[in-house]
């Protein structure tokens, strides 16, 4: 199990953060991601592998200001 934005989620396949975000329809250019309390640099999304017990915070930005 993985915790994503406070909700427990089954991680069905072993995948990278990049693949997970794409599978969840996140636009990579409009988000910020924290994994286990640390910000994840965008350049490393495809190298970071997700595992059970991970806690993800994903913030999606919408336009306007």
């Amino acid at each position: 199990m993985m915790k994503v934005n406070g909700t427990y989620t089954e991680l069905t396949v072993k995948q990278s953060l990049q693949d997970y975000l794409v599978s969840q329809n996140y636009d990579i250019s409009r988000i910020a991601v924290e994994l286990n309390g640390e910000i994840v640099p965008k350049a490393t999304y495809s190298q970071v592998m997700l595992g059970n017990g991970d806690t993800l915070e994903i913030v999606r930005f919408v336009g306007g200001g």
């Binding site: 409009r30 306007g64 200001g65």
Partner: protein, 267 residues
């Protein structure tokens, strides 16, 4: 008894605030005791801060500062005067946030925007017809000087990119994200969190349209990352940005910045 009277340490022989007014001013003067305007007389205590302000006349510069400070909560004012805040983007959020921070007396503001004031800004941003065609940095600086001449305002007219974030904002422990485009918001928040771990960023997402005011809130999403907005209602075709919700969101950001300046990290 020693009190601070209109900004000057003064030895007074009066017992109450209104006795001071009766002696030094006239009946229509406003009386502010320790940051609060009083309508009924109050006894004075040692070290009170008292301002007696005549209505409708222009005081000299020293007096003006003490009169403006009179409405600030005494201990809060000194902390804010030492405060330094950077604002990235001077649109509907940033221009209004800058005005609020100037009004509460934040001592140093650093304002960054690459753009000029144009007519479509006037529906929600703190600019006037007379500012059309001016750089936003310059137009805002003029206003802030009229609101509070006792703070320093530094500006840079430049587009913020991944490559200049550290150079621009590296010296600031509180950075306000006030961009319009979601990609720019994401870029600044990511870059600050990655490369400026000592800084806190107060960002915004979701304030378009005329949905309920009450769904706009402040949350702390990550370490050093505060986010204000309803997180859903983006600006787009058919849903414009309107002054009320943009200013509500700007108010959330400004109040979170105020709290951080006072050492309060809770939302």
């Amino acid at each position: 008894m020693i009190i601070a009277l209109n900004g000057k340490r003064t030895n007074v022989k009066f017992r109450t605030a209104f006795e001071v007014r009766r002696e030094l001013g006239n009946k229509t003067d406003i009386v502010i005791l320790n940051g609060f305007q009083i309508d009924t007389d109050c006894e004075l205590s040692e070290n009170d801060t008292l301002a007696v302000i005549p209505k409708g006349c222009m005081p000299d510069r020293d007096e003006l500062e003490s009169m403006m400070m009179a409405r600030h909560t005494p201990n809060v004012h000194n902390k804010l005067k030492e405060g330094r805040v950077a604002i990235a983007g001077l649109g509907g959020l940033g221009s209004n946030i800058a005005v609020m921070l100037a009004r509460i007396g934040v001592g140093h503001l650093f304002l960054v925007d690459f753009d000029m004031v144009e007519p479509s800004n006037l529906n929600r941003q703190s600019y006037y017809i007379s500012h059309l065609g001016m750089e936003k940095t310059a137009a805002l600086k003029v206003q802030l000087k009229e609101i509070n001449p006792f703070i320093t305002v530094e500006t840079r007219t430049v587009r913020v990119t991944e490559d200049n974030v550290c150079e621009l904002f590296g010296d600031y422990s509180i950075i306000c994200e006030a961009f319009d485009k979601p990609e720019a918001k994401s870029m600044l928040v990511n870059t600050v969190l990655e490369r400026l771990p000592g800084s806190k960023i107060v960002a915004a997402s979701g304030m378009a349209g005329y949905e309920s005011s009450n769904i706009i809130k402040t949350v702390r999403r990550m370490k050093g990352f505060y986010l204000c907005g309803d997180f859903e209602n983006g600006a787009g075709i058919g849903q414009g940005l309107m002054a009320p919700r943009v200013q509500i969101c700007a108010g959330h950001q400004a109040n979170m910045i105020l709290r951080l300046l006072l050492g309060i990290e809770d939302i």
